[in-house]
């Protein structure tokens, strides 16, 4: 068989720092980081980007992505991103937040940043629990899901229904792009990357707020093996949190 030279078809992106992460085996934060890194590389943004990191297991994101960053604990990342972007509109500004961070204490910040149409992007990792602090119930915890603070399972009458953030963000006037993807298989991972890229491009064209939710596994707090946790995304999360693009102003002719 005649063969030409060997090519590398997959390698770690430049923007992802070459170091081991502190994440548990099978934790999807690693996949999310890699996708963000690839998009930063492909759009040539790393040098000009400012990451607003949050609280949660991804608190050390600034150790893993080779970009300048500001740390904005518990839910305030969209407010800090607003300030950074308004002070330095020449910079590419994005936040990376978990569901405990963004959808509970940070609910006010995320809603108003989106509604104002801040020219920033948000990468939202929804793993249905507070991962870092030991698996407490989050606003996104599914009905019936057992957590340390919902030991009998989340109950509709006591805790309400899990919040669908992407649908809410999509309904706000300043949002240019809002989509939900999952990190559980190759096809969904590729779609997730497409959405992240799209959200980033809406900032580059100064169009409006970009939001991408990533359904992710937290094997440790779900008390599952990584393979079982990955399967749970398909069997339990996607039926409640449908995948797809919920708003794309390029289809609608502008913000508002």
């Amino acid at each position: 068989m005649t063969q030409s030279a060997e090519k590398i078809v997959f390698r770690k992106p430049e923007s992802v720092i070459d170091r081991a992460t502190h994440y548990c085996p099978g934790c999807h934060h690693g996949v999310a980081h890699r996708l963000v890194g690839e998009v930063l590389d492909e759009l040539g943004l790393a040098e000009n980007a400012i990451l607003i990191a949050s609280i949660g297991c991804s608190v050390f994101l600034y150790n893993y992505l080779n970009v300048d960053s500001v740390e904005a604990p518990h839910g305030r990342a969209p407010a800090v991103a607003t300030g950074v972007k308004r002070a330095r509109p020449d910079k590419f500004v994005f936040t990376y937040q978990g569901d405990g961070d963004l959808a509970s204490i940070g609910m006010a910040e995320i809603i108003h940043a989106a509604n104002r149409g801040e020219k920033v992007c948000v990468v939202f990792v929804n793993n249905t629990v507070y991962g870092m602090t030991g698996g407490q119930m989050a606003p996104t915890t599914l009905l019936g899901q057992v957590t340390t603070t919902s030991p009998a399972g989340r109950c509709m009458t006591h805790e309400g229904a899990p919040i669908k953030m992407t649908e809410i963000i999509a309904s706000l006037g300043g949002t240019a792009f809002a989509a939900r993807a999952a990190l559980n298989n190759v096809k969904n991972i590729k779609t997730a990357k497409k959405y992240i890229k799209k959200a980033f491009e809406f900032q580059l064209s100064n169009t409006g707020f970009g939001f991408v939710e990533l359904l992710s596994a937290c094997p440790t707090n779900w008390k599952m093996t990584p393979v079982k946790a990955n399967e749970r995304i398909e069997t339990e999360m996607i039926p409640y949190f449908p995948l797809g693009v919920f708003k794309d102003v390029s289809d609608e002719g502008g913000v508002c």
Partner: protein, 77 residues
């Protein structure tokens, strides 16, 4: 021929890669890495079956897999 290289000190033995390989050649080895995880590997005997599809690398949360592909020469090259 295509092949993968698993960076063993990064692998956490989550086995997600084993679930997506279309030819089912990735398995857990008997080796532990410095962090105490049993690393994933492709057995020598199966090495030539790799298609270079990179599915394993796409799903690896620890970006531990590099994929190499040798394209077949087209006629006339």
């Amino acid at each position: 021929m295509s092949r993968i290289v698993v960076q063993e000190d990064r692998c956490k033995g989550c086995l997600l890669c084993t679930t997506v390989c279309p030819v089912g050649i990735i398995v857990q080895s008997d080796r532990f890495n410095v962090s105490g995880y049993k690393v994933a590997e492709v057995c020598e005997a199966d090495a030539d079956k790799c298609t270079g599809c990179a599915s394993c690398a796409q799903i690896c949360p620890d970006v531990a897999i590099t994929v190499y592909k040798t394209p077949k020469k087209k006629k006339g090259e």
